[in-house]
């Protein structure tokens, strides 16, 4: 068949297909009949492209058909459900189930975080100098002033507009740190391990040091509540990062690239869950923990409830759903 005859025979068909593609690309939907016929028409055009190439029709024609195929491909091969439908499933089942599915990495991340936290806490509690090995003098000084009960008593209750300021600050700073912990997993897990250890050391050091100074009345009621979400979020970000690292270090029988791509989907679930926990933590920290007027006993009671919720959520949520699926 000569090219001209070929073009004449199918030109209308191509134009109609292109018109429908244009509609789809503008986000409009086709009629039911046209939508059903689209895959068959796409395959037809794929065949035309093959023919055009094997019969050495002009490069222009092949280029045009290639463009149609490319655009058709983009419309046919889409992945994923609508976002909103996923959110509910994610919260009620997907995320906690994913945490449990990678339980070993969770315990590993928890160990890498909690162990230095405990050790640094003890070290700083019993030795007045140890905190200076962890952070510069200026920072220690700042921290001491922040929680000094003598100064607190004089200070006024923070106004609600500074609460929003603190929320923004915690959100930006802490969640950013969580994302970095995750991304560090790309360095064969080393980055995640580093951030887990480092954050454990610093947080443990601060807690130990302030307890040694006897600032327990200001420090512990403040951190107990949001700690449930914030500390867990750090571990979850670490878990996601370790998952990336594990895919690189132990790909099994597939290539590292393939292992990484397989790990990516669960990692997204974990890191989104972690980000959500950071968000909740920042909210509690800014609007609840910082309020100095509330009695410490109430704060401890609420903190107990929050910890129980986090543990129950991660341990139980979505169990039935995951069995059903």
């Amino acid at each position: 068949m000569k090219q001209q005859a070929f073009e004449q025979a199918h030109g209308v068909f191509w134009q109609a297909f292109e018109a429908d593609l244009l509609l789809l690309e503008q986000g409009k939907s086709l009629g039911q009949e046209a939508a059903k016929a689209l895959p068959a028409r796409y395959r037809q055009i794929c065949q035309h492209l093959s023919l055009a190439r094997s019969r050495h029709y002009s490069p222009r024609l092949a280029e045009r058909l290639n463009e149609l195929v490319l655009r058709g491909h983009q419309q046919l091969y889409r992945s994923g459900r609508p976002l909103l439908a996923q959110v509910g499933h994610f919260l009620l089942a997907g995320f906690p189930a994913q945490v449990r599915a990678e339980a070993r990495l969770f315990w590993l991340a928890l160990g890498l975080f909690a162990l230095p936290l405990g050790l640094a806490g003890l070290a700083c509690f019993y030795s007045p100098e140890f905190i200076y090995s962890l952070m510069p003098e200026l920072q220690v000084d700042q921290m001491e002033r922040m929680y000094d009960p003598a100064k607190r008593a004089l200070g006024r209750e923070r106004e609600s507009d500074t609460d929003v300021y603190m929320f923004g600050y915690y959100l930006m700073h802490n969640t950013g740190l969580g994302f970095q912990t995750f991304a560090g997993g790309m360095l064969y897990g080393v980055g995640s391990v580093f951030y887990l250890l480092y954050n454990g050391l610093i947080l443990g050091g601060v807690a130990g040091h302030l307890s040694r100074l006897g600032y327990t009345g200001t420090f512990w009621p403040f951190v107990a509540g949001h700690g449930a979400f914030e500390l867990t979020a750090i571990v979850l970000a670490g878990q996601a990062g370790l998952k990336l690292g594990a895919a690189l270090l132990m790909p099994g029988l597939i290539t590292r690239g393939a292992a990484l791509k397989l790990a990516a989907r669960p990692c997204v679930t974990l890191i989104l869950g972690s980000a959500l926990f950071f968000l909740v933590a920042a909210f509690i920290e800014a609007f609840w923990s910082s309020s100095a007027a509330l009695p410490a006993a109430l704060k401890y009671a609420v903190a107990g409830g929050l910890w129980a919720f986090v543990i129950a959520y991660l341990a139980r949520a979505g169990r039935e759903a995951s069995h059903g699926a």
Binding site: P59, E67, Y165, M166, G168, F179, F182, M186, L260, C267
Partner: protein, 227 residues
């Protein structure tokens, strides 16, 4: 291989041709996006600073969302194109050429933090420079490619005139040679044009005197209608 065309086989057994974008255009696109974000930050701070601590808090929330999710939102809602990428004609797609999904976009953009190490995307640039598909770490994990959205322009600037189909069916290389002749003809002297065209006299052109015009007409036909 000097160019960055990659062929990608679809389930229908067709090769899609994609042109992968290198570190320089991608870096420029990033810089543009960064400037846009910077502009937004400055605007936000100027406006929100009026509200003092409350406003700065809002600005920090906005900065957090923009810094981490600006590319994700554009890539997923705008067919893989951020404003910077649009300016450079780039686009993000999956390895199989399909539009980038939320998951893939989140992975590739959160892992920017790894590509950024130790400073200014040094690691990401280094790794992408060693790969034929120019992927940075985030692209490797997410399974995404950054490609040129528009095909390289087909510059068939032919002298205007009649178009006529070739008298025999030609193979691809022959068609390309004919096109190349038609494109370059205006830059050759008339004598040289005639000399070259005469070589094809019995096969493609009827008479030596009009050989040049006949070949040009066929070249125009091969190049397709001018828009």
């Amino acid at each position: 291989m000097l160019d960055t065309r990659t062929a990608l086989e679809t389930p229908e057994g067709i090769d899609l041709n994609l042109t992968v974008a290198g570190p320089i255009p991608r870096g420029l696109a990033w810089a543009l996006d960064f400037l846009i974000r910077l502009g937004i930050y400055i605007g936000l701070i100027l406006v929100l600073a009026q509200l003092e601590a409350f406003g700065i808090g809002l600005a920090m929330i906005a900065a957090f969302v923009l810094e981490w999710f600006y590319p994700v939102l554009f890539e997923t809602l705008n067919h893989g194109v951020t404003p910077g990428k649009k300016a450079l004609g780039l686009k993000v797609v999956h390895d199989d050429g399909s539009p980038v999904s939320w998951n893939a976009s989140l992975i590739r953009n959160l892992l920017r933090a790894a590509d950024f190490l130790p400073a200014f995307y040094a690691l990401g640039s280094l790794i992408s420079a060693f790969r034929p598909d120019f992927k940075r770490l985030g692209d490797i994990a997410a399974g995404t490619l950054v490609i040129y959205a528009d095909k390289p322009p087909q510059a068939h600037a032919l002298p205007p005139g009649e178009a006529e189909a070739p008298r025999v069916s030609l193979r691809l290389a022959e068609q390309q040679a004919l096109l190349a002749f038609a494109e370059r003809a205006p830059r050759l002297s008339p004598e040289r044009q005639a000399e070259l065209a005469r070589l094809l006299v019995p096969e493609l052109a009827a008479r030596p005197e009009t050989a040049v015009q006949e070949l040009l007409a066929q070249g125009r036909w091969l190049a397709g209608p001018t828009r």
